[in-house]
């Protein structure tokens, strides 16, 4: 098991090299002069030349790539063209916000989705099954943008019970340790901040979590229906086990494997969905950061954030694979 993990981590290297080549070439795929496109038409020749020199655009390609990789390995992601700040610092500020939102959305999606799927399967063709699966059908095709705006209209504008933007209210103080606000407020035993951060997470979390929730619910239902027919469920019933044990232990642990696959895939897509959600809810995360970079043609920022998102994607994949073993002891890693 341990050697498998090491092996999988080593296998990440070629993947990341591939991604780095892709992100590196991004800048060279820009039609025309990248420096001009970054600084705009009004820039003078001296400014352009300075940027080219700074970014090493005059060097031969292979040495440009070498420098790029060497810098990344030292944790130097370069500078933002727009803000002149270190990208590494800016990312470190924003990444936890995105990860916190994504995890919150995913946990919400898993809890609600799995529960709804299990109940729908156990009570097949009941009103709960019909309503939740119709809901899931809508959920799968829900435009995040529309859902987000409707929630803001209802809960912030009309009812005024949930905050519409940001991670924390202005009048709330929170000492930062991990930059995950829920965790930091627990670590500092700051309950007002915990409640405030939680309320801020709620709407963007729901907006981001709706599609995965719907997909997880449908997958759980069909997987549970399949498992409930199996002989070992009949055995569990014939042993006289309580029905909640039969359903939530014996059936769900078997039914969870395909759901886990879906969760892994959805988590990756969720990072993409974060761009929209963060924009609607002014969430200070990496999604909004990358969107602004794209709009402002801040190519170094785009490069670095894509690289980071790719790395996260690959790590999520690895974790999913390792979790398989937990749910199915028959899986052998070698």
């Amino acid at each position: 098991m341990f050697s498998y993990i090491i092996k999988r981590i080593l296998m990440l290297i070629p993947v990341l090299i591939g991604v780095s080549i892709l992100t590196f070439s991004l800048i060279h795929l820009i039609p025309g002069d990248p420096a001009k496109s970054m600084l705009g038409e009004k820039a003078n020749e001296a400014q352009l030349e300075a940027l080219r020199a700074e970014m090493g655009l005059n060097d031969p390609l292979y040495s440009q790539y070498g420098t790029y990789v060497a810098k990344i390995l030292q944790g130097d992601l370069g500078e933002s063209v727009q803000s002149k700040e270190s990208i590494a610092t800016e990312v470190a500020d924003r990444l936890p916000a995105t990860i916190e939102l994504a995890l919150f959305a995913m946990v919400l999606a898993i809890i609600v989705g799995v529960l709804a799927g299990v109940i729908a399967a156990v009570k097949q063709y009941s009103w709960f099954d019909n309503i939740s699966m119709t809901g899931a059908l809508f959920g799968v095709s829900m435009p995040i943008f529309w859902l987000g705006l409707m929630m803001i209209w209802l809960f912030s504008v009309q009812l005024n019970i949930l905050p519409a933007s940001g991670r924390l209210s202005n009048d709330i103080q929170l000492g930062l340790i991990t930059n995950f606000y829920l965790i930091d407020s627990i670590l500092t035993l700051n309950w007002p901040a915990f409640k405030d951060a939680f309320l801020h997470l709620l709407m963007p979390g729901i907006a981001l979590g709706t599609i995965p929730m719907a997909i997880i619910a449908r997958m759980t239902r069909s997987s549970m229906l399949e498992v409930m027919k199996q002989d070992y469920i009949r055995t569990a019933n014939a042993k006289g086990l309580a029905s909640y044990l039969v359903i939530f232990q014996h059936a769900l642990k078997n039914a969870f494997l395909p759901v886990l696959t879906v969760i892994g895939l959805q988590f990756g897509l969720l990072l993409g969905g974060a761009v929209l959600t963060e924009t609607i809810f002014s969430w200070p995360g990496i999604g909004r950061y990358v969107l602004n970079a794209v709009l402002g043609r801040d190519y170094p920022v785009v490069q670095s954030t894509i690289l980071i998102i790719a790395a996260i994607f690959v790590i999520v994949n690895l974790v999913t694979d390792l979790l398989y073993k937990f749910f199915d002891p028959r899986i052998k890693y070698d």
């Binding site: 002989d231 070992y232 055995t235 014939a238 042993k239 006289g240 086990l241 199915d328 002891p329």
Partner: protein, 333 residues
């Protein structure tokens, strides 16, 4: 240990599946009783209603299936009137079951230990340690070597025979009064089959439970049963003690089943399955359900549904051949 009050009595059981295309009469008028320490065989081709009879006793029939008529008396109490909660106290404790395929009947994602301990702790007031100790004893009882270490295994790490032993250990965990074995050896190799049957016989002697042995193999019946009920299309067609059955079976269907017993002496002999297929249980033909496949069918067999008649003491048969003396002349001896 002889005790003549039946532990379990099934009276005129009817279990139907109420499907959109009509009621499937999976079990249609089954009656039998079984005494402590006795082994009752239920034989019949696949689809004849054996498993549904067993599941009805356990009250594990789920919609569209329904017990539409009859009584199932366990220690004199009708299980049909028990609540689900009451039944959960009976299943696995008073009446246990083992199944055909030990590979699929054990949960693949839990260890043998977890599956045994949870059974024991559902019914007995034991802590985890005591339950584990009991599990070790049980595995030892069913002849699994090195039980302590084996508890840590998952079902896929056991061989087929071992799995069935583990299933038996689990079923016997709470000393049930009735063990229903639904084709317990069908999925196993011949040599393992014999071992499992021997084990069941040995355990029955030690623990004194009644066994309902469901099988489609009269060879198994010959080996372990005291009395036998032969089922066809949801109905009992012959019911007698095992000696009478092998000495002078009455029903042409039973004769057919006997021809399909493999003979060890003559491996290459082609098994003679009964020709034709069982009828559609939604629309049973007029007359005897077996008439269309019966070599001895008379005209009246397609008109009159025979009743289940006592032919001799301890011998019931459902066949027109025995309804009057004239007909009996065609019976081969």
């Amino acid at each position: 240990m002889e005790n003549n009050t039946p532990i379990l009595e099934v009276k005129d059981l009817h279990t139907h599946f109420l499907t959109k295309t009509g009621a499937v009469k999976a079990v249609d008028g089954v009656s039998f009783d079984i005494k402590p320490g006795e082994t009752l065989g239920i034989v019949g081709e696949s689809g004849s209603g054996k498993s549904i009879t067993a599941m009805s006793i356990m009250q594990l029939i789920s919609p569209p299936g329904k017990i539409v008529q009859g009584e199932i008396l366990f220690e004199g109490e009708n299980l049909n009137n028990k609540t689900e909660k009451e039944m959960r106290k009976i299943r696995g404790k008073e009446i246990s079951m083992i199944f055909q395929d030990p590979m699929t009947s054990l949960n693949p994602v839990f260890t043998i230990e977890k599956q045994m301990v949870e059974t024991i702790r559902t019914h007995e007031a034991m802590n985890k340690k005591q339950a584990k100790q009991r599990a070790v004893e049980l595995l030892d009882l069913v002849g699994i070597p090195d039980p302590e270490a084996r508890l840590k295994n998952y079902p896929h790490e056991f061989s087929g025979g071992m799995r069935q032993r583990a299933m038996i250990a689990m079923a016997l965990a709470c000393n049930p009064k009735v063990l229903i074995a639904d084709e317990p050896t069908t999925a196993l190799d011949v040599t393992i089959q014999a071992q499992i049957l021997e084990l069941l016989a040995k355990l029955q002697k030690e623990l004194g439970m009644a066994i309902i042995m469901i099988t489609h193999d009269l060879g198994v019946v010959a080996e372990v049963c005291d009395r036998v009920m032969v089922m066809y299309a949801g109905k009992p067609v012959e019911f007698t003690d095992v000696l009478s059955l092998f000495d002078h079976a009455k029903h042409p269907y039973t004769w057919g089943l006997m021809h399909s017993i493999p003979k060890i002496t003559d491996q290459k002999q082609k098994l003679e399955a009964i020709e034709g297929l069982p009828p559609d249980l939604r629309a049973l033909p007029k007359g005897c359900s077996f008439a269309a496949r019966c070599k001895h069918a008379m005209d009246s067999c397609f008109e009159v549904d025979p009743s289940f008649k006592q032919y001799q003491a301890n011998h019931h048969v459902r066949c027109l051949l025995y309804e009057n003396e004239e007909n009996e002349k065609v019976v081969p001896s």
